[in-house]
Each structure stands twice: as structure tokens, then as C-alpha cells.
């Protein structure tokens, strides 16, 4: 029994719809359920699930596609869709004095004090500009989590921010910590002297986690977006973030995390940093540069702390499978890049290293740190592929992330190690993260994975396994 309908004028965000789909699919007698906006990707997904979608559906409509064992089950599933959608939409409060919820960022910011207010924009990339512009015009610290925002819009926003005393964090800014409050995917860190300017979300998360593990706290972590230090954007947000941190009494030491910037931008940022009267360290991510773990060690030393090597636990399979190669499947872009650099140094350039958080793979669906199912499907395929000799993974904890990512991975890891395929995993997180760092590590090691709190060390172990086999 199948049911396919397209609802016009209905919009619910993709994360909520994923939850609705899951709730319906979990019913007994329901074979498949997809409740999703009609993006190209979701339409393909529906076709892949065997649903026939009416021709001519495009853009912002809602697709409800259900397959069930019987008419009764189908009816139950349809009721469940309605119930789940109703539960997801908070009804507007009306009546005396209670205003309905604001419909634009401008309306929401109208009565707020710009000094204590932060805006967090995560609307689809083609629309995020106008929402962010409202916040920038209001002079707010504006975080743009959305990706796929055109670079010329980024430049416009950052130029405008210079006029309104705003700071644009992003676009594609995954993490920030402002005055102890985590925004986006943020780890729970203790307060301390280190201020971070980050052009890399997962890079910042990893650095913060390593610092927290060495008992060095964070004052603020300001994301600036991966393109900020390109010549097109010219480091506008980095320069502004440096000024804000230099003026901040809690910050004693500043770290800038970025891929190697465009040369003229690098010079401008270094010159500006030198004029601030605060110590500024650079953690550049690239071949020939220190890895994040080494950067963390340097920051700890500069902050007067004591560095100890991040913890790790051995895996159940100590030999690479057959003569297979290294396969890296990541949720963090910087985790992938760092592992890729380390692997390339020893094993050469043709390593398969996939970032499931890449723009191409997140269009129209939630980030893999929220929903890791796409990566799990890939792991299942790698288990059956004799060309795969060792799996290298990352797990990123923190606010906003999957509440229990190890649980989503554990079955696949167990099957892999049972099939003789070694799995090496880095876990990025702090002891205060809601997921419980040590429990996450334990779940993965019990399933047979080797676990490292340093991503670079995880990559090195995977490389050693491959090297051992070829030697």
C-alpha cells in the first residue's frame, strides 16, 4: 500500500521533517516513510525508495510518501504524519498582550538591546543573506550557520557590518562560543584566557576540546567562515574579531585557526595582530604545518599550562584487512583535511577521504553531525568492499550534535571489526559535553574500534596499519 502526496505552501525545516519521517517509519507495519521538502535531493531519495512523485513538483512544497503493509497500517501512518507535524509546529500564542512569534529577523530584533543580543541564522543558503542582513543592520553579533551563501553576499554583509559595529561569523560557521554560551555545534568548555578566531568550525571544536582536556579555558571562540581569509573577502571578520578579543578583558592570548590564507590577506592579518598588544598564535591547517594537536600543545605552553598527550584506547583488530587501502569517512571537514595531509605524507595522494559535511552532501538535508545515516550507509558498503583495508572515522560531540552519535555507529563498527576490518576513530569532545565523552569512547572501543582524542593520532594509527601491511 502506497500513498504519495505533495502539499503546497507547507514549510517545515529539514531537521524537524527528518524526525517526523523517523517517527512514522518506526510504526509497526510501515515499510517506508519520507516526509520532506521537495528538493531535488529528496525527490531522488523518494524515487530511490520506489515512490512515484507527481511530475512538476519543484521548490518549496512538502512531500509525504508512505508505504505500509495494509490499508489500515497506511491510515495509521497518515494519522501519525498529521500528529507529528502538529506536534512540531508550535501554535502561535494569541490573546491579550502576547504577540505572535516574529516572522523576520528584523521583527524579532526590533525591541532588543544590540549589546546583549546575538543572531543565529541557519536558514537555507539562498535565503540566508536577507535574514543575516537584518541582524547586521541591527548591529548584532551575527552567526551564519547556513552554507551555500554566495561569496558576493558574504562580502556585502561584512562590509555593512563594519558600518554598524556588527560582527559577521560565517557563512558556513559551524561553531562559536561567546561569553560561555555555545552557538551552533559547540563544545562545553570552561572559561579561561584563550580567545579563538576560527575560519574552520570543526578545527575550532577540536582545538577547544584539546585545550579543555589540558585544563586551559576559553574566553570566546569567534568563527569567521571558511572563506574569510580568501582574497575575495580579505579577512574582514578576522580583523574585526581580533579587535574585539584585544578589547576583551578576559582574553590574554589569541589563536587564529585557518587554512593558509591568501598571501596578501595573511600579511594584513599578521600586521594587524602585531599591533594589538596581545599575544597572537597562528594555527594554520595545511601540508607542512603543525597539526591541531601540536597547535594545542603550543597554546597550552603559551598559556602557562601543562600539556599531556590526549588519551587513546586500542582497537580489537590490529591488522589491516587483506591488502586493502585506507578509507576515511568524516563528519568534520577539518578532521578530514588534517587526516588527509597526514596520510598523504606517507601513503601518497590517492587516499579516499570523504567529508559528509561538504556543501554538496548537505544540500537539502541535515548536517552529518545531526544525522549520521548517510555515513553509516557508506560504512556498510565499505565492509563489503575488499578494497577497503582500514576505516578511519571521526565523531564530534557537543551542543547541537546528535545526542548519542556512538549509538548510531556502534552496529556498523561491530560488523566491520567482526569482518576483520579495523576501525580507527577520533572523538572530538569535552568532559562537560552533554553526550558524555568517556561513555561515547567506551561504546566505540567495546565495539572494537581504536579511539583517539587526537584526530592527528587517529590518522597516524590508521596509516601505521596500512604501512604494516605493505611492508
Amino acid at each position: 500500500m502506497r500513498h504519495v502526496e505533495v502539499r503546497k505552501g507547507a514549510y517545515v525545516d529539514s531537521v524537524t521533517l527528518m524526525q517526523v519521517s523517523r517517527r512514522v517509519a518506526d510504526l509497526d507495519g510501515v515499510d517506508a516513510a519520507l516526509v520532506a521538502m521537495t528538493t531535488d535531493l529528496n525527490l531522488e531519495l523518494a524515487a530511490g525508495m520506489g515512490f512515484e512523485v507527481p511530475a512538476g513538483t519543484t521548490g518549496n512544497e512538502m512531500l509525504v510518501a508512505l508505504a505500509a503493509a495494509s490499508e489500515d497500517d497506511l491510515a495509521t501512518a497518515r494519522d501519525e504524519v498529521e500528529a507529528a507535524l502538529a506536534a512540531a509546529s508550535r501554535p502561535a500564542t494569541t490573546g491579550f498582550g502576547d504577540a505572535p512569534p516574529p516572522l523576520t529577523v528584523r521583527a524579532a530584533t526590533r525591541d532588543l538591546d544590540p549589546d546583549g543580543t546575538v543572531a543565529l541564522v541557519s536558514t537555507p543558503g539562498q535565503y540566508a543573506f536577507v535574514d543575516a542582513l537584518d541582524a547586521v543592520e541591527a548591529g548584532l553579533l551575527t552567526m551564519i550557520f547556513s552554507d551555500n551563501v554566495p561569496v558576493e553576499q558574504e562580502v556585502t554583509l561584512k562590509r555593512r557590518a563594519a558600518e554598524t559595529d556588527a560582527l559577521v561569523m560565517g557563512p558556513d560557521c559551524g561553531t562559536a562560543v561567546v561569553g560561555g554560551v555555545g552557538l551552533g555545534f559547540a563544545n562545553v568548555v570552561r572559561p579561561g584566557p584563550v580567545g579563538i578566531v576560527a575560519a574552520s568550525g570543526t578545527g575550532a571544536q577540536h582545538l577547544m576540546s584539546l585545550l579543555d582536556g589540558a585544563d586551559v579555558g576559553i574566553s570566546h571562540c569567534l568563527g569567521v567562515g571558511g572563506r574569510d581569509l580568501s582574497s575575495a573577502v580579505g579577512g574582514m571578520s578576522t580583523l574585526r574579531a581580533l579587535d574585539l578579543l584585544a578589547a576583551d578583558p578576559a582574553t590574554e592570548l589569541v589563536v587564529v585557526i585557518s587554512k593558509p590564507p591568501a598571501p596578501e590577506v595573511a600579511q594584513r592579518v599578521r600586521d594587524h595582530a602585531a599591533s594589538l598588544g596581545r599575544k597572537v598564535l597562528f594555527g594554520l591547517l595545511g601540508a607542512g604545518q603543525p597539526d591541531l594537536t601540536a597547535t594545542a600543545a603550543a597554546v597550552v605552553a603559551a598559556a602557562g599550562g601543562t600539556w599531556k598527550a590526549p588519551q587513546h584506547w586500542a582497537g580489537a583488530v590490529e591488522k589491516v584487512r587483506d591488502s586493502g587501502a585506507l578509507r576515511g569517512l568524516f563528519v568534520g571537514g577539518t578532521m578530514r583535511d588534517e587526516a588527509s595531509i597526514i596520510a598523504t605524507e606517507t601513503l601518497g595522494e590517492d587516499q579516499v577521504m570523504v567529508d559528509f559535511g561538504d556543501d554538496e552532501l548537505t544540500r537539502g538535508r541535515p548536517h552529518p553531525m545531526i544525522d549520521g545515516s548517510l555515513r553509516v550507509e557508506r560504512i556498510e558498503r565499505e565492509i563489503d568492499d575488499p578494497a577497503c583495508g582500514v576505516l578511519l572515522l571521526d565523531v564530534v560531540l557537543g551542543l547541537g550534535s546528535d545526542p548519542d552519535p556512538a549509538a548510531g555507529l556502534v552496529d556498523a563498527v561491530r560488523r566491520a571489526t567482526a569482518a576483520g576490518l579495523p576501525v580507527v576513530t577520533s572523538v572530538v569532545g569535552t568532559r562537560d559535553d552533554p553526550q558524555d565523552l568517556l561513555r561515547q569512547c567506551a561504546t566505540l572501543t567495546e565495539a572494537g574500534a581504536a579511539v583517539h582524542l587526537s584526530n592527528a593520532e587517529a590518522a597516524r594509527e590508521a596509516v601505521r596499519l596500512v604501512e604494516g601491511a605493505t611492508r
Binding site: 543572531a119 543565529l120 553579533l141
Partner: protein, 461 residues
């Protein structure tokens, strides 16, 4: 923002999960109920990025709030507007006979009869269809406004209102009352007789009163009526009585026969909508003050001719953006039903353009049932309208919302982004020429007017 502090509030737009993660840290979240914009994303981005927009819209609002509206005279349209025999004005954007709706056709037929240009409805219709010696254009093209069909003929008397601050003048005919009236498309003998009496007796009497008593501050009456349960479009009861209070002494002193004075007073006080035709030109003066500001996305005209809904926007001057008018939903008189109602008609949406009428529905709980709503709906509607306006008008304060000012300066970008259309309260005309009023209700403009305006603003960046 000048320094980094622990946030006291986080405004979120997009994934609820990220907002939940902030709320879990005991920080107040202000969540935008976001939805995809109704218009083209590139046009929206271009208009939003236009450096002139913010200042131009602030100026538009400031000019609206500063506009005055003083009744300075009452005189025939031939004098006031220079209408020649055979020239008529009508409501809404331009429309030809072919596409004209029943009520507009009925009103034009009545206009021919009133002006003595035809001796039967059939002859009038034939002349109008052939365009023989007659022409008509929108009231707005002359700075005037007309309720419902909005037909103004040379012999009709009009109120003349002045905004001395911006040097603008606006005009509107005298209100005929409810039921079988010309503005609802009726043209029977009683309609024509009433119009003749208004031209012969009522108009001259009001002229004497205004000239003798001195200019009347109409904006001040609007401000008071908003605090007395009138929203200024479908309820004008307090406004009508306050106006009568202003002119009554001078009418009595005018030396006109007491029978005529009594008849005029009886007519005005029996027509709760008499003040609508003073509120409308006052609103026109307010929105006209905001017109022609390059880069401004503020709506300056919303008007309907019974076929099309048209809007004008400050940054694009007198260009009309039109789309087929919606049909109001509401309650019907007697045995009339939805099939009898004509699509939305009249310049009276100028009241909403200026922030009153449906925009300020919260202030008129007495009539929410009449237009098919409830009191909570009315409160929610007005609060919703603040999402699509540039600001508020403190002069028009709404008591039940803690004297918050009327939502003022409808912004095309906000309408397109939020998907929320301005709320209009309106009367409903019968679809068939000659019927008259069939009900009253609520209606919104078509979104296409706003997306077209957005595209034109983008092209003008």
C-alpha cells in the same frame, strides 16, 4: 555591539535544533517563525542590499507621521478637480469597459444618468461601451480617492483636504450611506435622487459650515476615533459623530432653512460611514507624503477596481502593480451569499495603506463578528501586521495594545519575506450591476502585486 559579553538573548532563524541547544544553556531565545520568501530570492537580495532602502524607508515613515490632513473646503468636483462634462473618476487601477466589474459598470451608468448624459440605463451603457463622449480614469491619478466603485462625476460635491507640511491636496466625494447606493453599483431612481439632493442641499450646507467654522483637523478626529473603537474603514461611528460636532454650530448659524439643516443632520447622523470619506483622503495625504522616494519599498497605494487589485510603491513612483482581486470572505446581508459577491473593490484600502482599517483591527472589537472574525483574531492580526510595516504611528494609538501606535508603512520586502499580506476590512458589492451592497468581510491583496513590485524595485537598484 561594541564588546564581547555573555549574550542575554539569541535571535534564531532556521533549524529549531540549534535554537533548542541555545535554550538548553538557559539563554533566552527569540525564535523567528521563518518560511521561504514568496518572491524571487535574487530580487529580494538585491532590494535588501540596496544602500538607499533603510534611509528611504525611514524617511517614508517620518513623512507619513508628519503629514497633516485638514478639511479646508467642500465644493463640486468640476471646480475642485477640474472634471469636464463626460469625465469621470473611479476606484482602483485603470480598467476599460470590457473588463470593468458589475458594480463599477453600475456606478458609471448611474454617473451618466446623474449628469444627464443618458436618459436610460440602456442608453448609458451603450455610450459607455462605445466610449462615445465619456472617459474615466483612477481617482488616484488626480490625488483623489473613492470608496467602493469610487465614481466621481463633475457635479458631485467633494471634501477638499490639505497637507500644508508637504503641500499636497486630496479629495473624496460625500458618503451616500449604505445599501442601494451608487458606490456599490446601484443606479435606481432613489440613488440618483439622493445624489441630486446631496449636490443641491448637503454639499452647499457643508461648504458654508466649513468656510464659516474654519478648517477642521481631520487627522485629530482619526486619532480620537481609533481610541473609541473605530478602525476607520468598516467602523466610522465615533468619527462621524465627532465630525458632526465640529460642523453643527456653523450649519445652524448658516441661515439655511431649519428644515434643510435638520434633514442634513439626520442624514449624516443616520450614516455611520459618513466619516469614511474624510478618513480616506486624510490617509491619502499621509501615504502620498511618502511617495516617490528612490529606493523605498514602502507601499503608498492599495486600491481595487472590482477586477484588479493594484498597488503603488514609493521607490517606483506611480507605476501600478496589478493582479486579479480576491473576493472578500465575511457575512452577507439578507439572503445574499458568496456567489453574489463581486471581487474586492474600492480605494478605501488607502486606510490600511496608512495603518488603520484592518491593520488596526485590534482597536475595533465591536465589529469583529460583522466581518466574520473573533476578538483574539483581531488582536493577533494587528500584532502580526507589525511584522510587515516599517514602524508605528504614535498619533494613532491602540489602547488595547497598551497604546501601541498603528502599524504603519507596509514594506514590500517584509510582505514577500513573511508571506503575510496586509489585512483589509471591506464592504462587499453585488456582482451584478445595480445590486448594491451584499455584505462585509475581510480580504487580502494578491501576493503577485508585491512580487511584481519587488522585481521592479530590484530593477531600479
Amino acid at each position: 555591539m561594541t564588546q564581547l559579553t555573555t549574550p542575554t538573548a539569541v535571535v534564531t532563524a532556521g533549524a529549531e535544533l540549534l535554537a533548542d541547544a541555545v535554550a538548553a544553556q538557559a539563554v533566552a531565545t527569540h525564535r523567528v517563525a521563518w518560511q521561504p520568501p514568496a518572491g524571487d530570492a535574487a530580487a529580494l537580495a538585491a532590494v535588501m542590499a540596496d544602500r538607499r532602502r533603510r534611509d528611504a524607508n525611514e524617511r517614508a515613515l517620518a513623512r507619513m507621521l508628519a503629514a497633516e490632513a485638514t478639511l479646508v473646503d467642500v465644493r463640486p468636483a468640476s471646480e475642485a478637480l477640474g472634471l469636464e462634462p463626460g469625465q469621470f473618476l473611479h476606484a482602483g487601477p485603470p480598467v476599460d469597459w470590457e473588463r470593468a466589474s458589475g458594480p463599477l459598470r453600475g456606478a458609471l451608468i448611474g454617473a451618466m444618468l446623474l449628469e444627464g448624459l443618458a436618459d436610460s440605463p440602456e442608453a448609458a451603457e451603450a455610450a459607455l461601451a462605445s466610449g462615445d463622449g465619456v472617459s474615466w480614469e483612477p481617482c488616484h491619478h488626480r490625488g483623489a480617492v473613492g470608496p467602493m466603485a469610487g465614481v466621481v462625476t463633475p457635479s458631485m460635491w467633494v471634501f477638499e483636504l490639505r497637507d500644508a507640511v508637504h503641500g499636497n491636496t486630496s479629495w473624496c466625494s460625500l458618503n451616500e450611506g449604505l445599501g442601494k447606493v451608487l458606490r456599490y453599483g446601484a443606479y435606481g431612481p432613489e440613488v440618483i435622487d439622493r445624489l441630486r439632493w446631496m449636490g443641491d442641499v448637503l454639499g452647499p450646507l457643508l461648504q458654508k459650515a466649513v468656510r464659516a467654522g474654519g478648517p477642521i483637523d481631520v487627522r485629530a478626529i482619526v486619532a480620537q476615533m481609533i481610541q473609541m473603537g473605530d478602525e476607520g474603514h468598516n467602523r466610522n461611528r465615533a468619527g462621524t459623530l465627532m465630525f458632526l460636532r465640529e460642523v453643527l454650530p456653523a450649519m445652524i448659524d448658516s441661515g439655511a432653512p431649519t428644515g434643510e439643516v435638520a434633514e442634513a443632520v439626520r442624514f449624516v447622523s443616520a450614516n455611520d460611514h459618513f466619516f469614511l470619506n474624510l478618513g480616506m483622503p486624510a490617509c491619502k495625504l499621509q501615504t502620498r507624503a511618502a511617495a516617490d522616494l528612490p529606493g523605498s519599498s514602502v507601499v503608498t497605494v492599495m486600491a481595487r477596481n472590482g477586477t484588479d487589485f493594484g498597488i503603488q510603491v514609493s521607490g517606483t513612483g506611480d507605476q501600478w502593480f496589478t493582479a486579479p482581486a480576491n473576493t472578500p470572505e465575511g457575512l452577507y446581508l439578507g439572503s445574499y451569499g458568496p456567489e453574489d459577491a463581486n471581487p474586492d473593490i474600492g480605494d478605501s484600502a488607502i486606510t490600511e495603506t496608512a495603518g488603520i482599517g484592518g491593520m488596526s483591527m485590534a482597536t475595533a472589537p465591536a465589529i469583529v463578528r460583522f466581518v466574520g472574525g473573533s476578538v483574539p483574531d483581531a488582536l493577533a492580526t494587528t500584532q502580526r501586521m507589525y511584522d510587515i510595516t516599517v514602524g508605528e504611528n504614535p498619533a494613532f494609538a491602540i489602547p488595547i495594545l497598551e497604546f501601541r501606535g498603528a502599524p504603519t508603512g507596509i514594506d514590500v520586502t517584509s510582505v514577500v519575506r513573511s508571506g503575510v499580506l496586509p489585512q483589509i476590512n471591506t464592504g462587499m458589492a453585488g456582482r451584478v450591476a445595480g445590486t448594491g451592497q451584499v455584505g462585509a468581510g475581510l480580504v487580502t491583496p494578491p501576493m503577485a502585486c508585491f512580487t511584481q513590485a519587488l522585481d521592479a524595485l530590484a530593477a531600479a537598484v
